[in-house]
Amino acid sequence: MKLTRDGIAYRVACDLPDGSYVNLGIGIPTQVSSYLSPDKEILFHSENGILGMGPLAEPGTEDVDLINAGKQYVTMLPGGCFFDHPMSFAMVRGGHITHTVLGALEVAANGDLANWRTPGAKVPGVGGAMDLAFGIKNVWVTMTHVSTKGQPKILKACTLPLTAPRCVKRIYTDMALIDVTPEGLVLRECAPGITAAEVQSKTDAALKVAKDCREMDIPEAIKGVPLAA
C-alpha cells in the first residue's frame, strides 16, 4: 500500500522533535501540523513574520492582518510573536529555525534539491524557497515517489534548476523514508507491504538498504482519514 498525502504528513510529524522550530512549505508539508503529538512543543515559523503560528482560522474568525506565507488566514498560539522580514530571514539563514519540510520536484543522490522552477512555468518565481533550503540545517522533503507520468523523482542528478545544492537530509515519499548521507541514499523504511526492491525500481539513484530497514509503523486511517491505501 502506498501512503496517502496525509500518510506522508503523519510520518513526518512522528519525527519532528520536541522543542523544534519548524517552517512548513506549501502542500503536503502544511498537513504535517495536523498530526503532531500534543506532548511535543513545536513552534511554527512563517516567512512573513510569525513564530508560534496556530492552525488555519475557522470561517468567520479570520483577521485580515494575520495570514501565513501561502496567504491563508491563520491563528496564533500563546507564546507566539510577530517581526519583520529581515528578522524572519535572519532566523532562517542564521540557523535558528531547526527544520523545514518542503515539497520537491526532484532530489538527487547527493541531496541537491530542485523545487522552485517547474518545467512549464511561464513566469519564474522563487519566494523564500532558496533561503529555506540554504539556511536551515534539517531540510526534509515530502513528495510522491514518482511523477504523475510515473517517472522517478529521486535521481542520480537533478535535471531542473537547483534550489540549493546538497541540502536535503531526509526524503519522505508515499513509498519510503530515505536518508541522504555522505555515503549516498539509505533506505530506512518502506510503506506497508512495499519491498525494498520495489522502492529501488522506482528510484533512479542507487539506494543502500539499511541493516535495520523496516516497514513503516503507520495506522491505515486516523479519524476516518486514510493514511495508506
Binding site: 512563517s46 516567512e47 512573513n48 513574520g49 510569525i50 488555519l56 482560522a57 475557522e58 470561517p59 483577521d63 485580515v64 492582518d65 494575520l66 495570514i67 501565513n68 501561502g70 496567504k71 491563508q72 488566514y73 496564533m76 510577530f82 517581526f83 519583520d84 522580514h85 529581515p86 524572519s88 530571514f89 532562517v92 539563514r93 522552477r117 512555468a121 511561464k122 513566469v123 519564474p124 518565481g125 522563487v126 519566494g127 523564500g128 524557497a129 532558496m130 533561503d131 540554504f134 539556511g135 534548476p161 537547483l162 534550489t163 540549493a164 545544492p165
Partner: protein
Amino acid sequence: MLGGFGDPGLPGQLLEAVRRKGVKDLAVVHNGAGAGDWALGGLIKDGRVRKVTASFPNNPGAIYFQELYLKGQIELELVPQGTLAERIRAAGAGLGGFFTPTSAGTELGKGKETRMIDGREYVFEKPLHADFAMIRAHRGDRLGNLQFRKAMRNFNIAMAMAADVTLAEVDELVPVGGIDAEDVHAPGIFVDKLVHCPRHPKLVEVGPPK
C-alpha cells in the same frame, strides 16, 4: 518600494492615488507582482510599470504582470525573498552590501561575485535603494512613529529605511505620545508623510479556503 505581503501592510489606497495621478515608467520593488486590477495590479494593467524587482512574481493573482512579461513588455529582476529583504535593509542601514549563502551555485547566483568564508561559498548582494517607499501601518503619529498589527510589518520597516521619501497610510492617526515608546515598531525618523485612511474593503490576495 511598495510594502506589504498579501494584504497586510499593503498601501493599496496610496497606490490607487499614484494611479490617478498618471505617473509612469515606474520601477517597482515588491515581494510579488500585484494581484487583480487594484493597487499594483492596476498600475501594471495601465502600463505604468517598467520594471518589477520581486521574489514571487508568479503569485496566482498577478495576471497583468504575466501578460506583459510574456510579451516582453515588462522587465523582471528575480530575487530570493530573504535576499530581497536584506538588500532593502542594507540600503537603509548604510551598508555597501553583504555576502549571503542563498543562491550560491544556482541559476540566480550566476554572474555574481562570490567568496569562500570559513569553507562555505557566499554570494555578494548589493543594497537596494528607492526614491519613494509606500507602506501601510496600523497607527501613526505626527512624528512618523508607526505601530503595526500582526503580520503587517513584513517588508515595511526596511522599506521605510531604504527610501529617500517614505509615505505611510495608517488606520489611525494618533497624537504625538499616543503610541507608547515601548510599542513603536518603525521609528518616525524613517517616515516622511502620513495619510490617515481607514481600511478599504478591497482585499487583493486571499489564499485558498480551508
